[in-house]
């Protein structure tokens, strides 16, 4: 188990370095291919060539590429200093540079927005796990029943309907129509109930999509597991049916669900772009959309890196949980 853990951690560290390199290459290569000069884009279209050169020097854009990679890498872990002549800016670690549009430092903006996205993803995950898995198990146990058929039709709807449709629909009904919920985002520090009110529709909308997927996977997995010989053995031992299902069958059903959860949570923590945009939540997803629209490379880089790291961590956690659940994995 310990050897497995060490191997996984080491692999994650290597992966992180690779991710940083790839993300940097986006920064460096994309403008090249797009024929955009970063310094010009930073300064503005009718820029004075001297100002453009100053920016180029300050951002280190004319340095050799290995030195740029190193500065970028170092910036993340130790901070970096931008200097051009007498103009010196110190960017503390973790440094992702400054916005090309507003001169805001990237990292504080990201850390500001991160909790919103995290709350959205985690809250929705709890909802979809509870309802999706429960619906899937029930469907499997009542296969072919009215419940099963209706649940699977609803699930098919959930999988097929895009978030900007279900999101707007829920807004139209619950916020504008019935006026049950004031769907304005309020920071949790200002008012907890206001925050809850602002989050509830995004949670449900996001959870609906995922619950639908999880219900389908859970149902299929559970049906497969129920046909296993060891389930028959469990019954032959005289176990109560709730133990057979709740313990023996559920433990095996958890493995694929956990794998999916790792991927989905990781991806969502990097920003649930559609949900955040639909509900005007000030999270990472909304920011990344803005940044792409304005070609604000440092922000795109920052969010991409956060997303990658989130997926990396989520997968690491899943791998470890996997080994806890399935003893055979520890050998691999």
């Amino acid at each position: 188990m310990l050897a497995y853990l060490i191997r996984r951690l080491f692999a994650a560290a290597v992966m992180l370095a690779v991710i940083i390199l790839v993300v940097f290459s986006i920064f460096f290569l994309v403008p090249k291919w797009a024929g955009v000069d970063i310094a010009t884009s930073f300064v503005g279209k009718q820029a004075d060539p001297a100002a453009v050169n100053a920016v180029r020097e300050k951002l280190g854009l004319s340095d050799p590429i290995y030195s740029q990679v190193w500065e970028f890498f170092k910036g993340i872990f130790a901070g970096r200093t931008y200097a051009a002549g007498g103009d010196v800016t110190r960017c503390a670690a973790p440094c992702f540079g400054y916005s090309f549009r507003s001169e805001q430092a990237v990292w504080p903006v990201l850390t500001d927005r991160f909790p919103v996205t995290l709350a959205l993803a985690l809250g929705a995950a709890v909802l979809w796990l509870v309802f999706g898995v429960a619906a899937g198990v029930l469907s499997a146990l009542k296969r072919g029943s009215l419940w099963d058929r209706s649940a699977m039709v609803v699930a098919l709807g959930g999988v097929s309907l895009p978030i900007y449709f279900t999101g707007l629909l829920s807004l139209a009904i619950f916020s504008y129509g019935l006026k049950w919920i004031d769907a304005q985002y309020v920071p949790i520090g200002d008012s907890f109930t206001g925050w809850l009110g602002g989050m509830i529709l995004p949670w449900i909308t996001l959870a609906f999509l995922y619950a639908a997927m999880y219900a389908r996977i859970t149902r299929a997995t559970m049906l497969e597991i129920l046909g296993e010989d060891y389930i028959r053995t469990a019954r032959a031992k005289g176990l109560r049916e709730q133990t057979v299902i709740g313990k023996h069958a559920m433990r095996s059903t958890m493995t694929p669900i956990l794998t999916m959860l790792g991927m989905d949570l990781g991806a969502l923590i990097g920003g649930a772009i559609l949900t955040e945009t639909t509900f005007s939540l000030p999270g990472l997803g909304q920011k990344v959309l803005d940044s792409i629209k304005t070609q604000d490379l440092p922000f795109i880089l920052g969010v991409t890196l956060i997303t990658s790291v989130a997926v990396l961590i989520a997968n690491l956690v899943v791998d470890i949980l996997y080994a806890v659940i399935d003893p055979r994995v520890r050998l691999a």
């Binding site: 060891y230 053995t233 469990a234 019954r235 005289g238 176990l239 049916e241 659940i325």
Partner: protein
């Protein structure tokens, strides 16, 4: 053979009315049918037998003859947890120690499972839960039926593992099934099924998935444990050699029905059904000239949806044309007593069978 001749497992026809059974286990006219899209699958179609404590019954037959369905039927596993599938239709009577199981409260039958009757399955790798240790699975089996703490149950599990011949049981108790060899897994499976001292043990092809060298060990183990615990044992197999080792009585199944049954030495040395002859002829034997080829039973097992009319074995039987008036293809033969506790279902006359056996079959075996 002296041991076999002391056989006490009564093999008799069930009575027409249904008074409570006085045997330890009595199955009366058991039918297990499965509705499918293609029709009704009559996996077991009228099976009766009795078994007493301390005795072993061998149920022999090809794949699809209804052996496993019978054992799962006795355990009540056709009805437990069959979610949304079309329910198996089960009729007849199964008496275990004075209780009729098919009409009993399902929760009562559940409590009997694992405690009064236990089962060993064919493939111990798939029959053990891969995520739980061997010990945890035995402990669970014990604690389901005994109100004891985990420590006591664990001691009991170690004791059972030791009893079935697993070395270092106090260490191996914490191993997972995938860390055991096939033979060890089957030993662990046996330990789990015997942890509650069940009075009825059903072994469904217990050695099929094992190496030949391990098979004999497992069979010896089952025999020793039976002597020690005094349980009634049903061994289900397609391998006559397996039951020859163990069984007091043998029941030969074909197409969901019994075609011959009787004391083991009768079925072995004076078989009176052409299908049993076929099984004996297809069994490899070391004491015979290796140049002689094995004689397979021609054809394939019957469809259980459209069972051949008349004798189910008639399409494959080399002697189907001997009886007059095409009777083998129109009339289903009844199980009739042809000797002391020896029954067979065949249209051939006793004289014809006697002659065919002594002149044609026995010399070739």
């Amino acid at each position: 053979m002296t041991e076999l001749s002391k056989s006490g497992a009564a093999v008799g026809e069930p009575t027409a009315s249904s008074p409570a059974s006085t045997s330890f286990l009595e199955v009366r006219d058991l039918k297990v049918h499965f509705p499918t899209d293609d029709g009704l699958v009559k996996s077991v179609d009228g099976l009766s037998f009795q078994l007493e404590r301390g005795k072993t019954l061998g149920i022999v037959g090809e794949s699809g003859s209804g052996k496993s369905v019978t054992s799962l039927g006795i355990m009540g596993l056709h009805t437990a947890g069959q979610y949304g599938k079309r329910k198996a239709q089960i009729s007849g009577e199964i008496w275990l120690d004075g209780t009729e199981l098919l009409t009993a409260d399902p929760d009562h039958v559940r409590k009997l499972r694992g405690r009064e009757m236990a089962m060993i399955f064919q493939d111990p790798l798939s029959a053990l839960h891969p995520y739980y240790t061997i010990g945890a699975q035995i402990v669970e089996a014990y604690r389901t039926h005994h109100d004891v703490d985990k420590k006591t149950a664990r001691r009991r599990a170690i004791e059972m593992l030791d009893r079935v011949g697993i070395p270092q049981p106090d260490k191996r108790v914490d191993a997972y099934p995938h860390e055991f060899s096939g033979g060890m897994r089957q030993r662990a499976m046996i330990a789990m099924s015997l942890v509650n001292n069940p009075e009825l043990l059903i072994a469904d092809e217990p050695t099929t998935a094992l190496d030949v060298t391990v098979q004999a060990q497992i069979l010896d183990l089952i025999r020793d444990l039976q002597k020690e615990f005094g349980s009634a044992v049903i061994i289900i197999t397609h391998d006559l050699g397996v039951v020859a080792e163990l069984a007091d009585d043998i029941l030969v199944m074909y197409g969901g029905r019994c075609v011959e049954r009787g004391p083991a030495e009768k079925v072995f040395y004076e078989p009176r059904h052409p299908y049993t002859w076929g099984l004996l002829g297809s069994m490899p034997r070391l004491d015979r000239d290796q140049q002689e080829r094995l004689i397979p039973v021609k054809g394939s097992p019957p469809s259980l949806i459209n069972v051949p009319s008349g004798c189910a074995f008639n399409p494959r039987c080399p002697y189907a044309d001997l009886p007059k008036d095409n009777v083998t293809r129109t009339v289903r033969p009844d199980l009739t007593e042809i000797g002391d506790r020896h029954w067979a279902a065949c249209h051939l006359t006793p004289e014809q069978r006697e002659r065919i056996w002594t002149e044609e079959i026995a010399p070739k075996l």
